[in-house]
Amino acid sequence: MPSILVFSEQDRCALELLRKGKELGEKMKLAVAAAALGASQVEEHRRRGCALVYTGSPDPFPPFDASIYAQALSQIAAASGAAIILLGSTRSGKELAGRLAQKLGAGCLTDCQSLEYGNDGLVATRNAFGGATVAAQKLTTAVQIFALMPYLCEPTAPGEPGGETVPVALNLKPSPVRKLKSTPKDSGAVDLEGAEVLVCVGKGLGKQEDLKIAEELASALGGVVACTKPLATDLKWLPESRIIGLSGKKGKPKLALCAGISGQVQFAVGIRDARTLVAVNLDPNAYIFQMADYGVVGDLYQILPQLTAALK
């Protein structure tokens, strides 16, 4: 019987996908199953009312590797009769998505911002033309893979009766890629995707020490500081984990305050889901004002400290 299979190597994302899978399963009249490659995920899914949790040996399962996980998931997909596979659009999820899609002859859409079932069938939205547009797309293949952006929905809450665990005998070829070491990018890493308030800074900032004025404002607003890509990759003023934009994180804060940012599309795609957007820029014609609820034309070196003071 065709079914929906969910998997993410990230625990939180896996439970978001389970919620989405259940919602779609109800509408599409499809059973929902989860693939759990690791003991902790099995229990997590079972506690959240996932009727079937597929798991494979060896136990403990090796840490994420695209080629091994693609093999495992293609075998689990075959065993579960998966017609729709939901993955997380993390970097690991994306490299898995392509490899798995090719194995299964499946169509695939990554970086999906939404996935809904309606009159047109199962339709995903994702950025196109580098984020200048948003395309609504569907797949025409028998097996369909959608990699969904993390934080697309809340994780399923625990408390429902547990389902059945189905072990699948996996036949896995070892990966030729040898892992040597892994180091955290940023020990003080913050959760930009989950933050309620983001203070974003761009090249309007003159020097690294001046980040202080953004940090002070962020702390007055109860938020965290994020930045455009050049500030992290070219200038290295902030770690890469703070990048908002097409190749960084996508924020969904209640409030975003963007200072010294012109609003190029590569940045804009990461912040346009903010509920309220405030922009501070010297140039009254800056594009960022077109996407702002409130714009303040002026020098961020004056506006930010004064705003911080006004909030205290």
Partner: protein, 258 residues
């Protein structure tokens, strides 16, 4: 060392405007170029060649206009190009791209390294690399931010969301990279002039045994429009003087903690 670099032709997105009334992108007269991150992949190949020698072949599938667009890559330092062209390959899907590139790579091989950007500039789907690795049964290293080669062993630092992962693989291997890996060079006028004379092989999909009529599209696009911006658009033009008004507005929206 034979390095294949897969590149995709896209519109120069800096020049794509949105028609306000219809929210549609305006693509007429927008120049074509090669993907931004694809150029990082090519730059990395050139650096390896400069150090260890070898040959760089650019592979690309797309419409006929590719023959002209690919000169950019040849000018940068690729030695030759293998192009798979057909009118229908405009706005090519990842799955078809991977199949055509795999066939072309097998025919143009042997190869030691296949390089790609982590995603194309336009669609940024990130599928072609992993799909191609699967088709060619190659190990894949994705999101590389630095590479070093010692003999037949490639070492890479991968940039994941919150960690850097160091990995090692024996060649042949496929690598996708992030734009932080390098700064692509700008070709000189002499290089641009010479690019036209570098070898270019143009193949039709049928010549690779992939008749396009046999390939059913996997992705159907229902709409593709600029997102609706429901923003208030209130502009305080007087700078710092208007901070009280901004604070009041944010307060009324319940966005301030007090």
């Amino acid at each position: 060392m034979n390095i294949f670099v897969c590149m995709k032709q896209t519109y120069d997105l800096q020049q794509v405007r949105i028609r306000k009334e219809t929210r549609q992108p305006v693509l007429e007269n927008v120049p074509l170029t090669l993907g931004n991150i694809d150029k990082n992949a090519l730059e990395e190949a050139i650096r390896i060649k400069e150090k260890s020698g070898g040959k760089i072949t650019v592979l690309s599938a797309g419409p006929e206009s590719l023959e002209d667009t690919v000169k950019e890559a040849l000018a940068m330092g690729a030695d030759e190009a293998v192009l798979i062209t057909a009118l229908e390959l405009d706005a090519i899907e990842s799955a078809l791209s991977a199949v055509l590139l795999a066939k072309a790579a097998a025919q143009a091989g042997p190869y030691d390294l296949i390089f790609l950007g982590e995603g194309s500039t336009d669609s940024y789907s990130g599928q072609v690399g992993p799909r191609l690795a699967e088709l060619l049964d190659l190990p894949q290293i994705t999101f590389a931010k630095s590479l070093s080669l010692e003999g037949r062993t490639l070492r890479a630092v991968r940039s994941l969301e919150d960690s850097l992962e160091e990995v090692e693989v024996d060649l042949p291997a496929l690598v996708t990279m992030v734009s932080e890996i390098n700064e692509p060079r700008i070709p000189t006028v002499t290089q641009i002039l010479k690019a036209g004379r570098k070898p270019k092989k143009v193949l039709r999909p049928e010549e690779l045994g992939v008749p396009l009529r046999d390939f059913a599209p996997q992705v159907q696009t229902l709409s593709n429009l600029a997102p609706v911006q429901n923003r208030r658009g209130i502009l305080f033009k007087e700078g710092a003087k208007e901070i009280p008004a901004l604070v009041k507005a944010l307060e009324e929206e319940g966005l301030l903690r007090r």
